[in-house]
């Protein structure tokens, strides 16, 4: 039995014996099963994962016929982030024509709905112009980012200051007020971009500020769907677990704090979301096999529970992909193949 090259969740290289690899896969799926109260992976699934990680190739892919649709969050922002000096419409064309992207997202560098409000009329013409020159479906995306609604950035008292002072009720009231404001902003911006011709709206990094953030995205989706029945909304999560920053918020009679992807997916569909994007966080001190087995377990349960197509988040630090600025393709391709083939995914 030889050693198997793999990595830790931070991307650091390591080797495992076959026995250690099997043990890490079993521990990863057991951890997800225990936390999410969902079934662990079957023996067949674990065998498939074992083969994926044991394969000596540096790059793996799905078998022909298993390919899926790719959607992108913070699309045009990523071209600017790496310092490529091109306009956003050029960035869309680079993704479309050079990278072979199935879809793409136009976004602003200040990637939250609130700051988009005053510059909306500058954003709409860019989208309208881009839609004339491109072929693939274009999303317009931003984050609810409820952190922008509390002091000093917003009008409401800061729950992060109220909580340590023991002012729990006041902190909860502040969160409730931010939800109403954020919903108004999301509906205003997303509605305008839909009217400008966007193929879809991506409400991204949902839940980053906890259960109030998730509630705002659900309520905004509900309102957008009622106003524009043919709108496509993709809702992508920020983390695997909805943080109970408020603790008591509910949607459709379900308490949001503590929900894992399979429960999040049901609520997203109920709110009118078209595509749901679950997240599973990568643990940097565990191996990639452990992380991928864990991610696959959560996402498989989400796909089984979701009435709408599921596009799993597989960017840096989620879905078993290492937390590294330049994630190594040996693990990215293994994670990609594993989630698509074992979870029966609709997209990434």
């Amino acid at each position: 039995m030889g050693t198997i090259f793999t990595r830790f969740g931070d991307g650091t290289a390591t080797t495992l014996s076959e026995k250690e690899l099997r043990a890490d896969l079993e521990a990863g799926t057991a951890d997800a099963g225990d936390r999410g109260k969902i079934p662990p992976l079957s023996d067949d699934d674990l065998r498939h994962l074992f083969d994926i990680f044991k394969a000596p190739q540096s790059f793996l892919s799905v078998e022909p016929g298993n390919e899926v649709v790719l959607t992108y969050d913070a699309g045009t922002l990523k071209i600017r982030r790496v310092g490529v000096a091109v306009d956003r419409i050029q960035a869309l064309q680079i993704y479309e024509k050079i990278m072979g992207a199935d879809t793409m997202e136009l976004c602003h560098v200040d990637y939250s709905f609130k700051p988009l409000k005053p510059i909306l009329t500058m954003e709409q013409p860019v989208l309208e112009q881009a839609l004339l020159a491109t072929h693939i479906p274009l999303f317009y995306g931003a984050m609810p980012n409820l952190g922008l609604y509390s002091q000093p950035d917003g009008p409401f008292p800061n729950p992060a200051e109220l909580m340590p002072a023991g002012k729990i009720k006041e902190a909860q009231e502040s969160y409730e007020q931010t939800v109403a404001e954020a919903v108004r902003d999301i509906v205003f911006v997303a509605g305008a971009m839909h009217e400008s011709g966007a193929d879809g709206i991506n409400i991204d990094t949902v839940g980053a500020a906890g259960d109030a953030d998730f509630l705002a995205a659900l309520l905004a989706s509900e309102q957008l769907k009622a106003r524009y029945p043919d709108i496509c909304i993709e809702l992508g999560m920020a983390g695997e677990f909805v943080l109970g920053m408020h603790g008591g918020l509910q949607y459709d009679g379900v308490r949001l704090a503590g929900l894992y992807p399979h429960d999040q997916a049901r609520l997203a569909a109920k709110a009118g979301v078209t595509l749901f994007g679950p997240v599973v966080n990568t643990n940097t001190s565990r191996t990639s096999p452990w992380n991928v087995a864990r991610a696959v377990t959560f996402i498989k349960a989400a796909v089984a529970a979701s009435p709408v197509p599921v596009h799993a988040n597989m960017g840096m630090g989620v879905g078993g992909v290492p937390v590294a600025d330049h994630p190594p393709i040996d693990i990215v391709s293994r994670a990609s193949k594993a989630v698509v083939e074992i979870c029966r995914l609709d997209g990434l």
């Binding site: 799905v62 790719l70 072979g100 479906p137 960017g315």
Partner: protein
């Protein structure tokens, strides 16, 4: 990393039929199997050919659905999206907007 995922598990965008299958998920909420079958049926090709860039370039050229390297006079951009909407039997938001603004509807 987008390229790694694209090669590992993507449909190839407009090199093949990735954008068309995406449109069925986005406009009809179809899961991947149903979306692929719908597009293959409309284009009268096998599901397995949806990711074949040689077959799809021919199909896209014939139907004027837009290709990576368009020849002079071929449909591109919004022109190709008019054809995509027609071929797939769907409404495309910006195409409807174009028709409205240009007085076509």
């Amino acid at each position: 990393m987008a390229l790694a995922h694209g090669h590992a598990s993507g449909m190839g965008g407009m090199r093949a039929a990735g954008d068309l299958v995406a449109r069925m998920q986005m406009t009809r909420g179809m899961k991947i199997k149903e979306a692929k079958e719908h597009v293959a049926g409309k284009l009268k090709i096998a599901v397995s050919e949806l990711t074949d860039p040689v077959v799809m370039t021919e199909v896209r050229r014939d139907l004027q659905l837009g290709v990576i390297t368009p020849h002079p006079l071929e449909a591109r951009g919004i022109e190709a999206k008019f054809r995509i909407a027609q071929a797939l039997g769907i409404d495309i938001n910006c195409v409807q907007r174009f028709k409205g603004n240009s007085g076509l509807i």
